[in-house]
Amino acid sequence: MLCLLTLFWLLFEQALLLEALVSEIRTASTSAEVYPSAVTINAQMLSAAARVMKTSESDTMEKLQQKVMLPVRKPAKGMALVVAHHYLKRVFGHLNGSLTSVAVAAFVKHIHEQKGMGSWSSSSASSTRRVLKLSGDECVELLQEDAFFTDAHGRLAILEALAKLIEEIEGTSSMVTWSGPNKASRVIRCFYGHFANVSFRVCLCFLRCMSTRCACRCAVVVGALLSWQAPARFLLLFYINWTATLRARY
């Protein structure tokens, strides 16, 4: 019972931490804040955990350093003792990974539409999920003289990726405006750090493709793909309801 309660606590804390990190990236006003540092993550984690556990920050810190029984996949599926704050900090890694996949998927999709780079393939004959892959040579071509953001098509694709990333961190209403006749022109108002955040992710993916010299799965466009935030946001709704009920009751 206690184990289950701890698990729920941690899941709520993860949801709150994710929310805090996303808003941190969205409301960043300097380049350093766009990529949260370990110190920032620690502070956010403490405040999120303190909000869920309803204890002071020093008590929370002690609790987070204890080992708790949690479900794990390695070395075998089952329960194991895990340090609580390790479990919480995985949120940042998941967020990073999903931001990369969102940015790269948008970039590859757009560059495929514009320049016809990449090819569609499916993992097996019976599979209906199709994957757009860039070959190693195409990645080299895009990396040469940084064509992926200096070249005209590459820059449009990067802007598309930037817009998608901003959408992912829910900043579209504040950072993207449509103007001109018939609202045809899009203007992205963001900080320098946001642009660098997108371009380094795309560059990283290309470098990985080049180093392996094999076709990389840069984008999964067709097929059911759950957004990363769906489960966590779902939990957050529960958390708000739960706290509201508690407040109403006591």
Binding site: S29, T30, S31, A32, E33, V34, Y35, S37, A38, V39, T40, N42, A43, L46, S47, E57, S58, M61, Q65, V83, H85, H86, K89, R90, F92, G93, N96, E145, D146, F149, T150, D151, A152, H153, R155, L156, L159, L162, S179, G180, P181, N182, A184, S185, R186, V187, I188, R189, C190, F191, Y192, G193, F195, A196, N197, S199, F200, C203, L204
Partner: protein
């Protein structure tokens, strides 16, 4: 003969166990001496790709326009800031935060924080620039993206395919802007 056997067995022992052992001894000594670990960024609590991000910030500084006006559909709000590519400013900000004092007490972070601190890029550090100056290529014509506002409204008229009515509207607008005539 015995010496040769000794040598062979020693070689075998070294090749099988030696490197791992040496690494362990080295890492132990380094840890005891308070030096940063050799394998930076192992484990679950590393800095992620932050270093790559910082490198990208420095690299893009010379490429992206250094002003805060709209260029090809992108406006950098801190574009005119000369320190936009530096991240050492956040050290002071974070140190002032109340939670920062308690943060380093986490056991996994505490030994790593002073040692693995990445060299912060400074203003006086000159990175090797690419052989040819990186330039942003002009966008193809007909792309529905707002160009630089400095060029004036004529460029919008030229680039964006719009209907005749809105074109004439824009023409009057540009006239009123140029002749400083109030619209209403």
């Amino acid at each position: 003969m015995l010496a040769l056997l000794h040598l062979v067995s020693y070689w075998w022992w070294l090749s099988v166990n030696g490197f791992g052992l040496i690494l362990k001894v080295r890492s132990y000594l380094r840890a005891r001496a308070g030096l940063p670990p050799v394998t930076v960024g192992h484990g679950v609590l590393n800095q992620g790709h932050r270093f790559l991000y910082e490198r990208e910030l420095v690299f893009l500084h010379d490429v992206l326009p250094k002003d805060a006006v709209v260029h090809d559909g992108l406006q950098l709000l801190d574009g005119a800031n000369g320190r936009r590519h530096l991240v050492d400013a956040d050290v002071a900000v974070v140190a002032a935060a109340p939670a920062a004092a308690s943060a380093p007490t986490f056991p996994a972070i505490a030994p790593a924080a002073p040692g693995t601190a990445l060299p912060e890029p400074r203003a006086d550090v000159i990175l090797p620039t690419p052989p040819q100056a990186v330039r942003l290529a002009p966008l193809p014509t007909g792309v529905p993206v707002l160009p630089c506002f400095g060029e004036g409204l004529n460029s919008i008229v030229r680039r964006v395919p719009i209907s005749c009515a809105s074109r004439s509207c824009l023409f009057f607008l540009s006239l009123s802007v140029r002749c400083r005539v109030p619209l209403v």
